[in-house]
């Protein structure tokens, strides 16, 4: 090794060490709060108050049971409501966004370009700015304290549409569409039996995103729902926060947070490879 090569090698080594240190610090920052959550949701109230421990306790099952039977906080119903909303949203939004994207991708009609531009333009309008009109309309339609307004609007999801459109451009050549026309399949059946299976990878990624964002959604649900048995998990978390914190069993408080967070983390860890790949695809091409 010449002197210059040695110098370069040690420079690279130092840079490598620095980057590992920074990455490890950031990973710890990301994981630390969830680790404490995991520890504390398994400890007794009295132990949590005594001080912090790095080791889990033995009260996980007990905390879970007492949370589920808490009379003030209908957590079981909350999980059920959140799950119904998130699952239906995931199904509807991926199916209809694929259908919309297919209409733009596979057909030629006059208004096509204008419609595509329109959908792109409305993509970034935040749902909060129409919240006032939305809750007034839901009140007029008698849909307050109902899960329908949390599910049905997801049929028109410009961001999911855009992702599907991008995916079709790379994975759905027009020849395939034409082939099923020659076979005499009706257009709608062709979409269901041939196009949807090809879209499976994109649908899976978007289903996960739609499920989590619906599971986590707080703003609109909190304005529409105030009946105890229709509340979703984020509303119950807010209710827990506004109650007198010190009166609560801390094991239960941590368990409530854990119930809202860990299912998503679990699904994410199982499917993380697809998700991380999928994030960049929906955005602009650099």
């Amino acid at each position: 090794m010449t002197n210059k090569e040695k110098k370069e090698f040690s420079g690279l080594l130092i840079r490598r060490i620095i980057s590992y240190v920074v990455l490890i610090v950031l990973s710890i920052a990301c994981l630390f709060s969830f680790y404490i959550l995991l520890v504390n949701c398994s400890r007794y109230h009295a132990d949590i108050q005594k001080g912090f421990s790095f080791l889990p306790g033995k009260a996980m099952v007990k905390n879970f049971q007492s949370l589920m039977s808490d009379a003030n906080l209908p957590v079981f119903k909350g999980i059920r409501n959140s799950f119904i909303v998130a699952a239906c949203t995931a199904l509807l939004t991926t199916y209809f966004s694929s259908l919309t994207a297919y209409a733009i991708h596979a057909y030629h009609f006059k208004a096509k370009k204008a419609i595509f531009t329109f959908i792109l333009m409305i993509m970034m309008v935040p749902s909060q700015v129409s919240a006032l009109g939305f809750i007034q309309l839901m009140r007029d339609m008698n849909l307050m304290n109902n899960l329908i307004p949390l599910i049905v609007p997801s049929i028109a999801a410009p961001i999911v549409f855009f992702y599907m459109k991008q995916y079709m451009e790379s994975a759905l050549p027009i020849e395939i569409v034409e082939a099923c026309r020659i076979d005499g399949a009706s257009e709608f059946r062709g979409f269901n039996t041939i196009v949807l299976p090809i879209m499976k990878p994109a649908i899976a990624v978007q289903m996960i995103f739609a499920f989590t964002s619906s599971w986590n959604n707080y703003f609109i649900p909190s304005l529409l729902i105030n009946e105890k048995n229709m509340k979703t998990l984020p509303i119950l978390i807010a209710q827990l926060r506004s109650a007198d914190y010190l009166k609560f069993d801390l094991g239960e408080v941590y368990m409530m947070i854990a119930v809202s967070i860990f299912p998503v983390i679990l699904v994410y860890l199982i499917l993380s490879k697809n998700i991380v790949q999928g994030i960049a695809m929906g955005s602009v091409k650099g």
Partner: protein, 302 residues
């Protein structure tokens, strides 16, 4: 495609038919509410005690009201500050990480693991994350316990009673939730850069920082602008984290009340005139930002 032009015509109607669900649902659940929100902004319509005042047409009075009583400025400023102190470290860290992940000489191991971990907080329920931070950073919570065990502080630091503590926690949560996402977007941008440019620079003896500053950053400019503006649009919508962390009070003394928290308060108190005016302003602001992104991206494609 052209040889079957005659048959194409008969398929055209299916294009329109397949668009019906989207436009029907969009019109009913988004467009009509948006227009009726705008309509509301021109009316006096609120609850005074138990009596309902309005709706009476008052033109632009709701707008002048929120501009002159300082509410819009105060909460707009809060939102901007909270966004900035989360975004600046986020973009710097993400640039650094993206550069490392895509550096061919560095050859980082376990990069899949690191990417998985740093992206994870993005999928967490913001409300639950804020509740978790509230519990962790409370006066007798684990963070204070740890800091006292290590002898860093003598008595509990009351994070949520100070402006710096509250804003710092909100920014920290936003940082943790979004830096992984930004890193992955920037990485995609960096991988799109022709590697021949890096190789040529290396042959010419450029150091890695020079390559980063003189090649990566300029070529990354479009995606940096995209990231910044989408983050700003997201920042304007900041709600869950400060709402839950401060129990909707914006404590201390409304220094962490964001624009959407202000909107939320007005919707709860059935103050529809002001809510409408605020929504219109937020709509215009986000629309201008979106159009900017839209035209920049389109220009690039042409």
């Amino acid at each position: 495609m052209f040889k079957k032009k005659t048959s194409c015509v008969s398929y055209t109607k299916w294009g329109y038919i397949f668009l019906i669900p989207f436009f029907l649902i969009y019109t009913v659940f988004s467009l009509v509410p948006l227009l009726s929100t705008f309509y509301n902004s021109f009316f006096e319509n609120y609850m005074s005690g138990l009596s309902h005042i309005g709706p009476n047409f008052i033109g632009l009075d709701n707008f002048t009201k929120i501009f002159t009583n300082g509410d819009l400025m105060t909460y707009g400023k809060n939102t901007l500050i909270l966004w900035l102190i989360g975004f600046v470290p986020q973009i710097l860290v993400s640039l650094l990480l993206a550069a490392w992940f895509t550096d061919l000489r560095l050859k980082l191991k376990f990069s899949g693991f690191f990417k998985t971990v740093i992206y994870m907080p993005n999928l967490i329920m913001a409300a639950a994350f804020a509740m978790l931070f509230f519990a962790l950073f409370s006066d007798g919570g684990p963070i204070n316990d740890i800091l006292m065990d290590f002898g860093i502080i003598k008595e509990p630091y009351r994070f949520l009673t100070t402006v710096v503590g509250t804003r710092g926690l909100i920014a920290l949560m936003n940082f943790l939730m979004w830096f992984g996402n930004t890193t992955i977007l920037l990485m995609a941008g960096m991988m799109g850069i022709d590697t021949a440019l890096f190789e040529a620079a290396e042959v010419d003896g450029a150091k890695s920082f020079q390559i980063f500053r003189l090649i990566t950053i300029p070529l990354l400019k479009p995606i940096l602008i995209y990231v910044m503006i989408t983050s700003l649009i997201g920042g304007v919508q900041m709600f869950d984290v400060p709402q839950i962390l401060t129990n909707s009070s914006g404590a201390p003394n409304n220094t962490s009340t964001t624009l959407i928290m202000y909107l939320n308060n007005n919707l709860y108190s059935k103050n529809y005139g002001v809510s409408g005016a605020l929504s219109v302003i937020l709509f215009i602001f986000t629309a201008v930002l979106s159009l900017f992104v839209f035209f920049r991206l389109n220009k690039k494609e042409d």
